[in-house]
Subunit: 509 residues, 2 copies
Amino acid sequence: MLNAVGREIPEEIGGRKLKPYNGPFSFKPKGRLHPPPLKAVFPDESKLLPSIKDAIKKVGLEDGMTISFHHHLRNGDAVVNMVMEEIAKMGIKDIKLAPTALFPVHEPLIEHIKNGVITSIEGSLNGPIGEYVSKHGLKEPVVLRSHGGRARAVRRGDLHIDVAFIAAPIADEYGNCNGMLGKSAFGAMGFAYADAMHADNVVIITDNLQPYPVTPISIPQIYVDYVVEVESIGDPSGIQTGTMRITRSPARLNIAKNVVKFLAKAGVIKDGFSFQAGAGGISLAVTKFLHEYMKENGIVGDFVMGGITGFVVDMLHDGTIRKILDAQTFDLKAVESMSQDEEHVEVSHMMFGDPHTCGCVVNRQHACFLGATEVDLDFNVNVNTHSDGLLLHGIGGHQDAAAGSDVTVITIPLLRGRLPVIRKEVTTVSTPHHTVDVVVTDRGIAVNPEREDLIEAVKGKIEIMDIEELYKKAISLAGEPKEPRFKDDIVALIEYRDGTILDVVRGVA
Amino acid sequence: MLNAVGREIPEEIGGRKLKPYNGPFSFKPKGRLHPPPLKAVFPDESKLLPSIKDAIKKVGLEDGMTISFHHHLRNGDAVVNMVMEEIAKMGIKDIKLAPTALFPVHEPLIEHIKNGVITSIEGSLNGPIGEYVSKHGLKEPVVLRSHGGRARAVRRGDLHIDVAFIAAPIADEYGNCNGMLGKSAFGAMGFAYADAMHADNVVIITDNLQPYPVTPISIPQIYVDYVVEVESIGDPSGIQTGTMRITRSPARLNIAKNVVKFLAKAGVIKDGFSFQAGAGGISLAVTKFLHEYMKENGIVGDFVMGGITGFVVDMLHDGTIRKILDAQTFDLKAVESMSQDEEHVEVSHMMFGDPHTCGCVVNRQHACFLGATEVDLDFNVNVNTHSDGLLLHGIGGHQDAAAGSDVTVITIPLLRGRLPVIRKEVTTVSTPHHTVDVVVTDRGIAVNPEREDLIEAVKGKIEIMDIEELYKKAISLAGEPKEPRFKDDIVALIEYRDGTILDVVRGVA
C-alpha cells in the first residue's frame, strides 16, 4: 500500500497489521484506553526491596515480557544497563525492550541482543544500537515513535508494558518521586507518567531515598509497586550532549537570525507568542535571538514548551515569557530552575504531544524550530537515518511539534560536510510534508507551497525561494549524493504519532 | 447474608449483586481499571462553549445517564443547582446524580427528584436531601461511599460517569485548572481527579477564565472536553461550615486534651509522627493541643493529611510538621497556604484513600481523630444516620482514615443533648469495629480489646475503662434511647471502601 507520503507500506509485518499514514489529522481513534491492573497494598506492607534482582523476582518478570525505561538522564543513564545485566544474569530471555530512547552509553546492550536476552525493541535508538539494528536487524522490526506517539501507544495498549523501571533522583520508600532533586537530578520526568500509569508493574530505582512523603510528587505512590535504592542512577552531566551547545558557526548563526526575521515579518511574533524550543545548536541560537527580538519589542509570550534549556530559563527570569512547560530538561541550569521557579512547570509527554487525548500542548504552539538530517523537495523531513541509511536517531518530539504548531520551521545548513541536506527524496520520512512549513538554510528560505497564507504574509518583506532552487544550489556545490545500499529486510517501522505507518527502514548492506 | 459486622445484607438489590463486608483487608481486587474513551482534539478546535446548556448538548447528555460533581465548595457550591436546573429545563429525565457530596444548599434538587429528573443518587448526603431519601426513598437505594471508596468505584467502573462537571475557580480555555486561585478559590481539588480521569466526558465550569496555560495544573487539558465560563461557581465562605470552629465547651476541650495525653502515653507521638486532622470542633482542638505538645517536646512530624485547616497550616509554618498533604481544604487560611506554601501539597482522593491502588496516604498515618454520631459496644461507628434513623451525613474519609491509621481515635461526648452516644448497637455501621481502636469521651477512655498492644502500652500511665462502663454511665444519666421507627424498604447502602456492603439504611416512618 502507498501511504499519504508516497511510501510503500506492507500490509502486515510480524503478525502486526499496519495502517498506512493518511494525513496528520485524518485518524480519530475509537475505543478506550488500556487499563492497568487494580492493586491493593495494605497498611503494613513495605515496597522497599534490597536489590534490582529482588524487584525483578517480585514483579514476576518472565521470558517474553516487555520492560520500559525513560531516558531523562540521556547519555548519563546507568539504569538500563544495570537492570539488563541483572536480567541477563538471571537467565531471562526474549525481552522486549521499550525504552523511550537509547544512547551511546547503552552500547553494552548489544551483547544482550546477541545472546537472545533482548529480542525486540520499541523505542528511539541514538547511536550504536541503531547502527547494530541497521546492520543485523532484530527478530521483529524496531518500532520508532515520536514522544507523543509513544505516550499514545502506551495509553492505548499498542505498547503493553509488563514492568516499567523508573529512575528517580529522589524518592521515598512508598514510591513518591520527582526528577528535580538529588545529586542525579535531571529535571522533568515527563516520559515516566504514561509508563507509571499504564504498566502492569512499576519499580522506582533511586539513588536518593528520603523520608516520606517526597514532594513535589511527579509519580505518586499509588502507581508504584516497589522501590529499590542503588548507589547511582547515572551521571546528570550526560544530559547535556554535544548538540546542546549554541552554534558558533557564522553560517548557522545566520540561519537562526533568519528564522526570527521570517517569523517577525510573517507577523507571528506578538504578545502571547508561544513556541517549542529545541536543543540543537541552531535551535538554541534561535531561542537566544528570539529572546532579544521579543525583549527589544516589548513582546511577552505565553509559554515555551520544551526540551528546556538555560536559554529559555533566561526568558522566564526577565519576564519575556510567562511560563515554561517542561516535559524533558536539557541542561543543568534548567534543572535548577525547575526546582525553584514556580512558573517552570513539569508536564507529561501525554500532555506534550499525545494526539489521542482531549488536546495536547503542541496544539497551542505558534511556532517550532526543528533540525533535520534531510529535507526533500516535497518538504518531508528525515531525522532518523543518515544518508548512508544507518538508523542513528530517534524521532523525538519532531512529529508532534510539527503537527501542532501553526508554523513549523526546519533549520538546516545547505550542506553538512560534503553532503547536501536537501534531497530529491528523503531516505526516511520521519515527519510528513503536510506539517512542515518553512525551511531556513544558510543560503535561503523556502516555504511549503501549501502555505499560501505564509507566502502572502512575507511577500516583499523577506526573500523566499523555491525549494528546488535550494536543492540545485546544493547539488551544484557538492554533487548528487550516493544512494545508501539497502537490503530487502525491514529493520524498523517509523510510526506516525497516531499509530499509522509513515515509512519503513531497511537493513544496510 | 450476615456480614463481618453482623449486619444482614440482601444478596441482591435493584439488579446489583451485593458482596458482604468481610473484614477491612480481606478483599484483593482482580481485573483492571475502568478505561475512559480515547479522544482526539486537533489544533484548531476550541473547547470554549458559551453556556452550560451548550455543554450539555455537546456531550450528548441523555435520559438515564450519570453525571458527577465535586463538593469542594461545600455549602457554598452553586454549580450542582445550576447544571441540574439547565438539565431539567431541557427535559432530560432519569439522571443518576453522582456528586461526591450534597449539602443543605442543594435542597432545590428535591424538586428535580419529585419531577423524575433525578431518579437515583450515588454520593454523600448531608442534610435535607438525606432526610428526603429517608422519608421517601428513590427508585434505587442511594449508594454511600467513603472518599477513598468513591475514588475506587470511579476508577474501577462500579460508578461509571457519563459526564463530570467540574467547578474550577481558575481555568484556561483548554481546560487546565486548579482550585487555589481566583475569587472562588477553595484550595485542593482532590475529588475531581478520579472523575476527570475516568468519566466519558469532562466539562470545566469556571468563573475565572485566564490566559493559557493556567498553572499549577491540577486537572490537565488532556482530560477536558469543554470549558464554560459562568458568573459565579459559588461562595467560598460556604466551605467553612459550623462544624469547623474549635470547640469552646470545657468538656469537649477536655476530650481533645485526653486524646493527646493518650497518644503521648502510648508512645505514638515521636519524630516523624503523621496524622489525619479532621475539621469537627473536637478534632480542631486535638490539632491545636497536639501542636502545643509537639512544639514543647521538640517533636517534628512528617506530614498531616487532611481536610486541612488553618490549625494545621500553623504547624507547617513553625516547623512542627514538614509537609501537608491536602485533598480537601477546610478554611480560607488553608486555601491561601496551598497557593503559597511549597510544602502544602495537593493530592487526589485516589492518593488519599483508594484501597485498590498501590497504597494510599492513610496507610502511612500513625493516628487519626474522628468524630461519630454513635459508637457501640463492639466499637462500630455510625456517622451517617442520626439516632432517629434519618440519613443526614456522608461517610467522608472516616472509613479510610480508620483503616489506614495505626491508631484510630474516636472523640465523642458521652451524651449529646439528652442522647447517649455510646449504644448497644449503632443505628448504622459506617466504619467497622475492626478499624476502631480508642474511644475518648468526656467521662473516660475505652480501648478496643483487640488492641492489646495499646492497652499494654498505656498500662499504669493513663486510666482506661471498659466501653460497657462508659455505656452504663451514659444510660444512667440519660436512660435508654428510643429506637428509630424504620420501615422495611432499603433507602441506602453503606459501602465499605473496598466495595463490599457494610450496612443498609431503611426508610423512616
